[in-house]
């Protein structure tokens, strides 16, 4: 901790770090479901690599959150012993994998956002956040590149790949708006310039997404109703199943270690 933080700030910061960590963890869990099921061996490994990158970032974030919470909690406690309502991940990342195209679109929308967010967070006055952001950004840049190229390949591919990925975009779009709707913690932290204003990232995000969709000859959905709730623990029906599977061992055999 570089500065003694006001208590409200500390709470907001720990909530925010958990939000980042939970989002990465749930997405990592989703992507790793592909392990052994990828469309080709090379992409199976690519997906697992990305999942494990995200898991690595998650660990740094949970360790920092545990430090901020000061409740004698470990990173494992935070990942395995919190319930659905306590998870703050974006609704976007808990959506089931669907087909390969759906997974790609979900990843692309998220990594495009992450790239913009981490680029700003890297400059945060909070040195811990800045350091995590800087390290994560290198990985995120590759995830972005990988997912954007697949959007283009599938969109500008065969008739079938195009119609399927367009359908995925239309379906998942409703979960993309939440990234830019700041929750209370984000508002507070942005007001004291510890994090960027997420709403302000939307324009750049739309531009980047549009450029890739144009190249992929795909259509960007317009003015759709946006789902939200993940940041405050109100999730879609899918999260409970992920947690049930992910937390089973720690719940059934508490305190087990590798």
């Amino acid at each position: 901790m570089n500065i003694a933080l006001h208590n409200d700030t500390q709470v907001a910061l720990s909530n925010y770090v958990l939000q980042l960590a939970d989002t990465n963890l749930i997405l990592a869990q989703r992507i790793c479901e592909w392990c052994g099921h990828g469309p080709v061996l090379e992409q199976d490994i690519a997906l697992s690599n990305i999942g494990l990158d995200l898991l690595g970032q998650t660990r740094s974030l949970y360790q920092y959150a545990a430090e901020l919470l000061d409740e004698d909690k470990s990173e494992d406690d935070l990942a395995y012993l919190r319930s659905e309502r306590q998870f703050k991940n974006l609704l976007l990342v808990e959506q089931p994998n669907g087909d390969f195209g759906y997974t790609i679109v979900r990843q692309f929308l998220y990594e495009t956002f992450q790239q913009l967010l981490l680029t700003e967070l890297k400059k945060s006055s909070n040195t811990q956040l800045a350091a995590i952001a800087e390290k994560s950004l290198i990985e995120t840049n590759y995830h972005y590149k990988w997912s954007a190229e697949w959007v283009i390949r599938l969109g500008d591919g065969t008739e079938e790949s195009k119609s399927r990925i367009q359908k995925s975009i239309n379906e998942i779009w409703t979960y993309s708006g939440e990234m830019f709707i700041p929750c209370a913690a984000e508002q507070l932290l942005a007001s004291i310039s510890i994090i960027p204003d997420v709403a302000a990232l939307k324009e750049a995000w739309m531009r980047k997404v549009k450029t890739v969709l144009d190249e992929a000859t795909l259509t960007m959905p317009e003015n759709m109703y946006m789902q939200q709730g993940g940041k405050t623990g109100v999730h879609t029906e899918h999260l409970g199943y992920i947690l049930a599977e992910m937390q089973y061992l720690q719940r059934q055999y508490p305190r087990q270690q590798w």
Binding site: L41, A46, N49, R153
Partner: protein, 95 residues
């Protein structure tokens, strides 16, 4: 698209600056860019490399194993082709 539609690529990795690219294996990819990215994910995930070359397998021309005898055996009894075969006069010192 079926995987068998994707051509095979041979992958060469340079493990450190200054070393040669070495053949590490092959993989399937739709084009060169995908081949390099797949190689990154398949062959460099444990810090094995700093540079990747991908060559479509059909462009590799190989010697015929059936002709290995005619190709390589004649060299076996020609030790004088190795510089170590020759005594170097002491006056020359280390070459």
């Amino acid at each position: 698209m079926q995987q068998q539609d994707w051509p095979l690529w041979e992958i060469f990795i340079r493990s450190r600056q200054g070393l040669d690219h070495k053949h590490v294996g092959s993989l399937h990819a739709a084009d060169a860019q995908m081949a390099i990215e797949n190689a990154r994910d398949v062959y460099t995930r444990r810090m094995e490399g700093v540079s990747i070359w991908a060559v479509e397998s059909k462009y590799i021309h190989a010697s015929n194993p059936d002709e290995a005898g005619a190709f390589f055996e004649p060299a076996e009894d020609k030790v004088y082709r190795h510089p170590t075969f020759y005594d170097i006069p002491e006056a020359i010192g280390h070459m």
